[in-house]
């Protein structure tokens, strides 16, 4: 099924040259090549059925129709060598350390602004800058406890950071489930490899959450706060609650009394000490933020402010993963850590800067333009694929509100063989991928080995988001 495999000229994860696999992929290629299409197809179906039956689905909202879908799973694993991973891991630890220092600085001394490393107007103009957090000491000075950082690989094989997700990153449940399913349907593939385990993630997450428990709680009650079963990531919320053995609560389960947070149980009210909230700041507390939110807990911010409940991630971390702030993360690393960034950013033009904006407007056909306040692949212009009208529309938008846009050269994501089924005929074709590792900041920083590899399953597509037809792969980091 590899006969007509096309390297297409971008960085290919498996092949160095046509027919010549990179050494760490050779055993896997060997096994895959020995399979016939039927037995591969059977395994694929087995995996799909497992996902549907277990309810591992996400919900897509479009035209008011809510559709439950599985996240397509591509059976060819992505393999990362220990040496490569070492660089990624060190780079991510460095980055999250700087981002946490940045959040603390922004909400306290603002040295990075007074020293004009970052233009204060960028912060004060950011929607996610939460003035309520100014001067509030968060437990243990940690703001971003759980981070998902998106990495891509350019034509040169170099890993670049595409964006940080420091609010409520999702996807980790797929990483864990992908591994389970992979072991079930393709146990033989593991024979030739020493793959680093990821199964301790829930335990590490629980420890990260316990670490920030308020002092009064000897045996803290920790819960996940979910928007509810209609949220697209509900499966993940419920999965993590089960894995950690903690409660999964909705806003309506909680109430605030005398600045403590309680959950309503059959035996009356029980105090809650730590909330892993999977709800954006805006919806957290209708008293402090959006008053029309039905999902949050009125008075939660007061309990938080008094130190009676801890939140992960902290309120206000959106200021660090703002796309308009992203270009400055390397500067943050230099400023706070006095180190050179280990993982580079993708070069980025900030439309708020006059020179950058001019360049962007003149080169729209060669750039990817992103709205800084959107995520999930919405509010984006892929310049080279867009029509003239679309480009003109975006030019207008940029002129109206330059701060809301950044632009990047089109990163030719690396490709990886994926099993593609066209009219029942199965073969391997190269599809673009990215990588989202998950980083926990608690007592120490722990990077989960691997992460979520997302695949753009449409031929030639560079958009890997699940809402835009992306799938995922099991991701292996090798022991050595």
């Amino acid at each position: 099924m590899f006969e007509s495999y096309d390297l297409t000229g971008v960085f290919d994860e498996m092949f160095e040259a046509p027919g010549a696999p990179r050494p760490h992929y050779a055993p896997a290629l060997e096994r895959l090549s020995r399979l016939d299409a039927t037995s591969f197809q059977r395994r694929r179906r087995m995996a799909d059925v497992t996902f549907v039956n277990q309810g591992i689905t996400f919900t897509v909202y479009s035209d008011k129709l809510n559709v439950e879908r599985i996240f397509p799973f591509d059976l060819v694993p992505r393999i990362i060598t220990a040496r490569e991973w070492d660089i990624i891991e060190r780079g991510l630890v460095q980055r999250i350390t700087a981002l946490n220092l940045f959040c603390k600085d922004i909400y306290h001394d603002q040295r990075i602004l007074t020293d004009r490393v970052i233009d204060p107007a960028l912060i004060y103009g950011a929607k996610m800058f939460r003035r309520e957090m100014i001067g509030f000491p968060v437990p243990r000075d940690i703001y971003i406890h759980i981070c998902g950082t998106d990495l891509v690989r350019g034509g040169d094989g170099q890993y670049y950071v595409l964006e940080d997700n420091g609010r409520t990153p999702s996807g980790v449940s797929y990483v864990l489930e992908n591994r389970t399913v992979m072991k079930k349907v393709f146990p033989q593939l593991f024979d030739d490899y020493q793959v680093r385990a990821i199964e301790d993630y829930p335990l590490n997450l629980l420890n990260t959450l316990s670490h920030i428990a308020p002092r009064h709680a000897d045996n803290p009650t920790i819960a996940i706060l979910t928007p509810g079963i209609y949220n697209s990531a509900y499966f993940e919320h419920s999965f993590l609650a089960r894995q950690m053995g903690i409660e999964l609560v909705e806003g309506q389960d909680l109430l605030v009394e005398n600045n403590f947070v309680y959950m309503r149980t059959t035996a009356g009210l029980r105090r809650v000490d730590v909330l892993y909230r999977r709800l954006d700041d805006d919806f957290l507390d209708p008293l402090s933020f959006r008053p029309d939110s039905l999902l949050g807990v009125p008075g939660l911010m007061n309990a938080y402010r008094m130190g009676n409940v801890s939140l992960a991630n902290a309120v206000g971390t959106g200021v660090a993963d703002d796309k308009a702030i992203y270009p400055f993360v390397p500067d943050m690393i230099r400023y706070y850590l006095k180190q050179e960034p280990i993982l580079p950013n993708v070069p980025t033009y900030v439309c708020a800067r006059d020179t950058d904006r001019k360049f962007v407007l003149e080169n729209l056909d060669k750039l990817v333009v992103k709205a800084t306040n959107e995520s999930g692949g919405y509010g984006m212009l892929m310049g080279h694929q867009a029509t003239q009208t679309e480009r003109e529309k975006f030019a207008e938008l940029i002129r109206e509100d330059p701060r809301n846009y950044i632009a990047q050269p089109i990163v030719e994501l690396s490709q990886h063989p994926s099993a593609i089924d066209e009219g029942g005929k199965l073969r391997f074709e190269g599809r673009r991928i990215d990588l989202r590792p998950y980083i926990l900041s608690g007592d120490k920083v722990i990077v989960m080995p691997g992460g979520l590899t997302r695949v753009a399953l449409r031929r030639g597509s560079l958009v890997v988001n699940s809402s835009q037809g992306g799938g995922s792969k099991d991701t292996w980091v090798l022991e050595e």
Partner: protein, 330 residues
């Protein structure tokens, strides 16, 4: 910080969110409800094959009585009464209590407490949900309706077995058990009332074999034909039937059996939550339990089958309301 391994004691005492208790309770009721509706449909389909030629009015009445199980009305759609009723009670998502809506509601509730139930329970209800919405289900319904209804009954049986075998016997399990028992009592009362509606007024017009068939199918709908035969053989005396359905101590579908199940569940819930208080639902169920323990057939004969069931139903209903007030509306 080291992780605490929960001891058995603390696992039992682990708090249960009111919303979760509410969802577990309704999940269980919807599953049980689907089973009863499916059985009602299966038995009626079967019954009408057995009785041969009936006057149209009587024939339709058999079908229409089924609608009262879930308080539905006959839809304004083409076709004969039988197919309109079976279609509505099977696939009409807008009809509260139809198979498709009970399964969907059960799944919706199960999804909301996915982290509180076992993978086996979830997968059963989730698979049932996708199945009943599939084209295959429709096809099976058209071609082999009995098999279709049986598959729904089996979902419930499987689900309840899995609940017994996989859920720790904590509050969660008690709420599932309590709900199952309360729903079973309520549905049993409804079934008997519906059956009486279907043939009581015209009973004099029925000949003896037909009458027997009617009573037999009533017991069948309560899933008790084999147990009944073992006890009374082929004697389908209405009073015996009533006594069996209401009072049979060892029969897991009898009202008495389920009242004592519900009582046991609620008193264990109370002991795990607020041991020092008296639970109002427990009081209602306790009294009903005692009444049933000391009831005798002549009493039922005096009040009348229908009236007696009505009073049981309303007391169980009251217990249900009290459970909600005490545990779900905190």
């Amino acid at each position: 910080m080291d992780l605490m391994i929960p001891t058995e004691e603390s696992a039992l005492r682990r708090p249960l969110l009111s919303r979760v208790a509410d969802s577990l309770y309704w999940m269980s009721r919807y599953v049980e409800r689907a089973e009863h509706v499916a059985r009602g449909l299966r038995i009626t389909t079967n019954l009408l094959m057995d009785v041969g030629d009936l006057p149209d009015e009587l024939y339709d009445r058999q079908w229409l009585s089924l609608l009262s199980l879930v308080g539905a009305t006959l839809p304004d759609s083409p076709g004969d009464v039988g197919s309109r009723v079976t279609r509505t009670l099977s696939f009409d998502a807008g009809c509260n209590g139809s198979l498709v809506s009970s399964i969907a509601n059960a799944r919706e509730n199960a999804r909301a407490v996915r982290s509180e139930i076992s993978a086996e329970m979830w997968e059963t209800i989730n698979a049932a949900y996708w199945t009943i919405r599939s084209d295959e289900a429709r096809q099976k319904f058209e071609e082999q309706p009995e098999e279709f209804y049986t598959s729904i009954i089996n979902v419930s049986m499987l689900f309840q077995g899995q609940t017994e075998e996989t859920l720790p016997q904590s509050q969660r399990w008690m709420f599932v058990r309590l709900a199952k028992a309360l729903e079973r009592i309520d549905m049993t009362c409804r079934i008997v009332q519906a059956r009486l509606d279907a043939f009581e007024e015209v009973e004099d017009a029925l000949d003896a074999p037909l009458r027997t068939i009617q009573w037999m199918s009533t017991i069948r709908m309560c899933c008790g034909i084999e147990a009944y035969r073992r006890r009374f053989m082929a004697d389908f005396d209405p009073l015996k039937v009533a006594g069996f359905i209401i009072l049979e101590e060892t029969f897991p579908r009898s009202i008495r059996f389920n009242v004592s199940e519900a009582l046991d569940a609620i008193s264990r819930i109370r002991k795990l939550t607020t041991p020092e208080t008296i639970d109002p639902a427990e009081r209602v169920l306790g009294r009903l339990d005692a009444d049933l323990d000391y009831a005798d057939l002549s009493e039922i004969a005096r009040v009348g089958f229908r009236e007696y069931l009505k009073s049981v139903q309303s007391r169980v209903h009251e217990a249900g309301v009290l459970v909600q007030q005490t545990y779900f509306l905190k």
